[in-house]
Structures are given as structure tokens and as C-alpha cells.
């Protein structure tokens, strides 16, 4: 069986970045859960900071430069996506949203997504539910029930409700969705034609009266 391909996307801007740290931990949890289920796993990591210029260019020109094109293919063509953004002004970062904005929405359909977010305090933890989940629902991605929010204080917390516990639960839920959907998503083809649209009434073969 082909290896499961996971892409880990981090929208963190600082170096080092706690969003990247959370993304890597989520990636490890998901990969570990998939290996427990008997799968080989390949993980690709993408930092949007490296693509900031290309993302802005794409907003203006309408097409991605080669490095961004590869990142978009890695994100939308994966068997599962781990997407982590810092919380800026009560939502995902503008760069994170801009990256999503330059991708054709249909390319996210049925993509399993494990959501993560970081912030300075736990007061923003619902950003997962009021910003990220509606975004991925609109895109018809399939989000894992548990997302993981990490505030600064979480990096020092342990125990039954600690970060590792949440990472493991999120990874396991996500792994089940990834396993179910793997190999079932059709490849995206921008040149595919909707035969119904062209061949139905009002299409090329007629459907208009001939006099």
C-alpha cells in the first residue's frame, strides 16, 4: 500500500515559531497514530513565512510562482493536512488566510484537516471553532473533531488535560479520517469539462429551437 502523505502547514511568522512547534507536534501525533494502524507515513512541512512574497504576488497576478505552486499541490494533494495558524486579532493570521484565498476552493474537497492555533493566552482558544472550522467547512474539507490550541502557558503544562494528551487525542481522531479517505479523493483537474453543462439543454448540441 502506498505511504500516507501528510502535509504540515504552519502560518507562524517569528523564528523560532510556536505555531511551527505545535504543527510539528501535531504532525508527530498524527503520524504515530497512523503508524499504529499499520501505515507508512511521509510528512512534508511548509512554512508560509517562506512563501509570503509569492502569496502576495499571486493575489495580484492570479497565478502562483513555482515554489508556491508546489506548496499548494503539497497541501491539497496530501492524504491529510495539519494546519496551524497564530491567532491575530481574534482570528487566523492574514497570511494564512491569503494562502487559502489563492487556492481554488474545490481543491480542498474531502481533504482531512487537523486544525491547530497558537496564542498568548487561553482566552483565544475558540479561534479554532469560530474562525478555522467555518473556513474549512466552507471549503468542504473534513475537519477532525478535536483541534488543538496552544497558549504560551501550555508549553509548561502536563497531566490529564495537558498539551500532550490533547495532541494524542487529536492525532488519533484525525488518523481515522485520513485512513478512511486515503486514495478516494479524485485528482484535481482544472481542464476537466462538465459534460452535463455542455451537452445538456442550452449546450453545444442544441436545446434551442431550430427554425
Amino acid at each position: 500500500m502506498a505511504a500516507i502523505r501528510l502535509t504540515v502547514l504552519s502560518g507562524g511568522l517569528s523564528q523560532p515559531s510556536s505555531s511551527r512547534l505545535l504543527a510539528d507536534r501535531l504532525g508527530e501525533a498524527a503520524a504515530s497514530a497512523l503508524r499504529d494502524r499499520g501505515h507508512e507515513v511521509e510528512v512534508t512541512a511548509i512554512e508560509l513565512r517562506d512563501l509570503a512574497r509569492e502569496i502576495t504576488d499571486n493575489l495580484l497576478t492570479g497565478f502562483p510562482a513555482p515554489a508556491l505552486d508546489r506548496a499548494i499541490a503539497d497541501v491539497t494533494g496530501a492524504d491529510g493536512l495539519i494546519a496551524v495558524t497564530p491567532t491575530f486579532s481574534a482570528s487566523f493570521s492574514g497570511l494564512f488566510k491569503s494562502f487559502v484565498d489563492v487556492i481554488e476552493p474545490e481543491r480542498f474537497a474531502r481533504l482531512p484537516v487537523l486544525m491547530g492555533a497558537t496564542g498568548g493566552s487561553a482566552r483565544h482558544s475558540l479561534v479554532l471553532e469560530h474562525a478555522l472550522r467555518p473556513l474549512f467547512s466552507y471549503l468542504k474539507a473534513e475537519t477532525a473533531p478535536t483541534g488543538v490550541y496552544a497558549a504560551s502557558e501550555d508549553w509548561a503544562a502536563g497531566g490529564a488535560t495537558g498539551l500532550q494528551h490533547r495532541l494524542d487525542r487529536a492525532g488519533a481522531e484525525f488518523a481515522a479520517i485520513v485512513e478512511r479517505n486515503a486514495g478516494t479523493r479524485p485528482a484535481w483537474d482544472p481542464f476537466a469539462l462538465d459534460a452535463g453543462e455542455l451537452l445538456g439543454p442550452g449546450g453545444l448540441a442544441g436545446g434551442t429551437s431550430h427554425g
Binding site: 504576488d57 510562482a65 453545444l204 429551437s209
Partner: protein, 395 residues
């Protein structure tokens, strides 16, 4: 092979002087540019159609009619004519009229437009863009191909026994190109009718244009209009030249950096590496343009965008001198080499008059092929449960 220029007719501030031409100055500049195109030996001048600033050409046939009177050989075309928001009856009449005025030196390129609000301004719905393009063109074809037309469709009032006037010159309607950047449906439409396909080409990477043209060629063959390499392909291009490559880059950079479409985005260097834009010596323009054939095959028409982004008229005219004197003669000779004899030229009026009957028969055959495709497609669909209605018909 035909070489020419196309203008979108934007009024843009010249970033090096901070001034913009008036609408009147820009309109006169476009007319001067068209005359210059013939003077320097180009074959085609194509004009855009827009209904919102900063663009001025809202009425292309008015301007093309004037140009027709001032030129002898120049083929007049559009880039593009809005098949979605114009009444196809008016397109049929305007361009047949222009054919008579210009002694047949007319073709047109149909497009769906680049500005969302144009649809509601003309009473249309942008979500119907593709169905509008399909139905309006189906009516346009019949208005040109049949004397009297009975028509009923979704998007305009019905017609009974209507005859558009004047009739196409010598019984041969203007050749039609279909233009699209990213909609495969339009490539399919061009292929179905055996019409030309014009790839804008200039704003997107070559790999994308290559796939659109390949799709069009395959479907052209599928619909029985000839072999894939006999399909009629046009490409856009965009160049700025100086004898010395560095001078070209230095002179064009402020225009590039502030251009309406890509300004304040990618660097000139990135954009030239990712798209067909060439800024350099005439030899560099020749080399890059000859490379287009590597990914679209032997093609019929190459149009360059030369007058945009606030470039002053004097500069544009100098650019046209370089294009006509140093670039196009070499391109003509080089593109003619190794070109198979069965690859046709872009149709002229004379060729269309000679082949009008064959074209009608080919379109009838294509209709039969599409109907058979539709039947196969319908048979492959799951049966609708009883009582359910999936009809998309508006009638």
C-alpha cells in the same frame, strides 16, 4: 502566419511623468497606433471592448470603421468582444456592417469580459457567464448562417422570421476566435464550431496555455474539423524592446512596477521568467517568441500588447518600428521553416468565401457528434427517482 498587436485601451498615468492622457487623447492615440501597425508591415490590429474606466474603447466597431478607411491591408479584429453582455443580434449586425465597410478585412474574438459588474450593468447575471457565451454564440451563428431565423432561448426575447442586416459580405461571415484564460468550456466551444482559439497567454505561465491549447486541438479533431495540428490557434504576447537589453529593462521597469494588472507584485525579473513577457533586445524577443511554438505547435496568429501601463504614444510608435523592422520579418521567416504543408493559415475573407459550404457541412457533422456524445452521457447517468425533477431548462 499573421502578426499584429492588440490594445485593451487603458488610460493609465505615466509613472515617469505623473500625467495621464485625456480620454480623447487616448482614443486618438489608439487610432494612430493602428495606422502605424499597417505602416510597419503588421497584419492585424485588435481592439478590446470595455465599459468602465480606466478603459476607453466601449464602441470598437466605431473605431475599427475609421481605421478601415485609413488602411489598405490591415486585418481588423477585437480583443475581446463581449459575447455575454452584448445582444448577439447587435453583434451580428455591427460586424457584418464592418465587413462591408472594410471589404472583408474583419474577424472577431469573443470573450466573457474581465469585470464582474458589467454583467448587471447590461442586465445579465455573472453566474450565467458560460451559458450566456454558449447560447448567445449559438444565436449569432444562426443569424449569420441562415437568412431568416426563428429563435427561442433563455437569455433574450424570442425572434420570429428575423433577418439580421446587412447580410455577411459575399455570404461568408467574419471568422470567429474564442478567447479565454482559464475556462476549458470555451476551448470546447471553439473546437465544436471549428472556430479559432485565442489564448490570452500573457498573464499566466506557459504550462497553462499549453494545456488549454492542447485541449482545444484534441476537441477540434474530435468534432471532425481536421487533425489536431490543423486547428486555428492565436496567442497573445507582451514585449518591450531597446537595441541594448539593459536599456529596455531600465526604461520599462517603472511602467512594469506600476502597471494596472501586475504592478506592485512580482519583480520584472520574476514575471519575465514565469510568463511570456519579454523585456530586452529584439533578438531576445525573437528567441522567446519562437519558443512559443515548442508548447502550442505551429500556430496562426501572434498578437503583441504594446500600448498599456501608461507608455506614451511616442514610445509605443518607436516600439512598433522595432517590432515591424527587426522582429516580425525574422519571425515570419523562422516560423515558416519546418511548418507542415497541411497546417492552414489564419482564414482571410477570400479563404472563407471559398470554403463557406464546407464549413457549414463540418458544423452539421460536429452537431451530430455532440448529439451522440450527449446521448452516451445521458445513458451513463444514474436514473432519477420517480417524481424527482432535475430539469435545468428554463423554458
Amino acid at each position: 502566419m499573421q502578426f499584429g498587436i492588440f490594445s485593451v485601451g487603458d488610460v493609465t498615468v505615466d509613472p515617469t511623468t505623473g500625467t495621464a492622457p485625456t480620454e480623447g487623447e487616448r482614443i486618438k492615440a489608439i487610432l494612430a497606433i493602428a495606422q502605424k501597425a499597417e505602416e510597419v508591415g503588421l497584419d492585424v490590429f485588435a481592439l478590446g471592448e470595455h465599459h468602465n474606466p480606466p478603459f476607453v474603447p466601449s464602441s470598437p466597431t466605431t473605431m475599427l470603421g475609421w481605421i478601415a478607411a485609413k488602411t489598405q491591408r490591415l486585418q481588423l479584429s477585437t480583443a475581446t468582444t463581449l459575447i455575454t453582455t452584448n445582444d448577439p443580434v447587435k453583434i451580428a449586425e455591427d460586424y457584418a456592417m464592418l465587413q462591408h465597410v472594410a471589404d472583408g478585412r474583419v474577424d472577431l474574438t469573443l470573450g466573457r469580459g474581465n469585470t464582474g459588474p458589467v454583467y448587471p450593468w447590461f442586465g445579465k447575471d455573472i453566474r450565467e457567464g458560460i451559458p450566456l457565451a454558449l447560447e448567445n454564440y449559438a444565436l449569432l451563428r444562426r443569424l449569420w448562417d441562415e437568412e431568416f431565423v426563428d429563435w427561442e432561448g433563455r437569455f433574450r426575447t424570442p425572434l420570429q422570421g428575423f433577418q439580421s442586416t446587412p447580410r455577411p459580405l459575399d455570404g461568408a461571415s467574419p471568422f470567429v476566435w474564442h478567447g479565454s484564460i482559464r475556462s476549458p468550456q470555451i476551448a470546447e466551444q471553439a473546437a465544436f464550431y471549428g472556430d479559432g482559439f485565442f489564448a490570452n497567454h500573457i498573464f499566466w505561465p506557459a504550462s497553462h496555455t499549453a494545456q488549454m491549447v492542447r485541449l482545444y486541438r484534441q476537441r477540434f479533431e474530435h468534432y471532425g474539423h481536421g487533425a489536431a495540428d490543423q486547428a486555428i490557434v492565436g496567442l497573445g504576447g507582451q514585449v518591450f524592446m531597446a537595441k541594448n537589453s539593459q536599456d529596455a529593462v531600465r526604461a520599462f521597469r517603472p511602467y512594469f512596477d506600476n502597471a494596472p494588472v501586475y504592478g506592485h507584485g512580482p519583480s520584472l525579473e520574476d514575471f519575465t521568467s514565469q510568463t511570456p513577457l519579454t523585456v530586452g533586445s529584439p533578438q531576445e524577443v525573437i528567441d522567446k517568441t519562437l519558443g512559443f511554438r515548442d508548447y502550442v505547435g505551429d500556430y496562426q496568429r501572434q498578437l503583441f500588447l504594446m500600448d498599456h501601463a501608461g507608455l506614451p504614444l511616442k514610445t509605443v510608435l518607436e516600439q512598433l518600428d522595432l517590432l515591424g523592422e527587426e522582429v516580425v520579418p525574422v519571425l515570419r521567416a523562422e516560423f515558416a521553416k519546418n511548418r507542415p504543408a497541411h497546417v492552414p493559415d489564419a482564414p482571410t475573407h477570400e479563404a472563407l468565401v471559398a470554403t463557406a459550404g464546407r464549413r457549414t457541412e463540418a458544423r452539421e457533422r460536429a452537431r451530430g457528434i455532440a448529439e451522440a456524445d450527449a446521448e452516451r452521457h445521458a445513458a451513463a447517468q444514474p436514473k432519477a427517482p420517480q417524481g424527482a425533477s432535475f430539469s435545468r431548462q428554463a423554458r
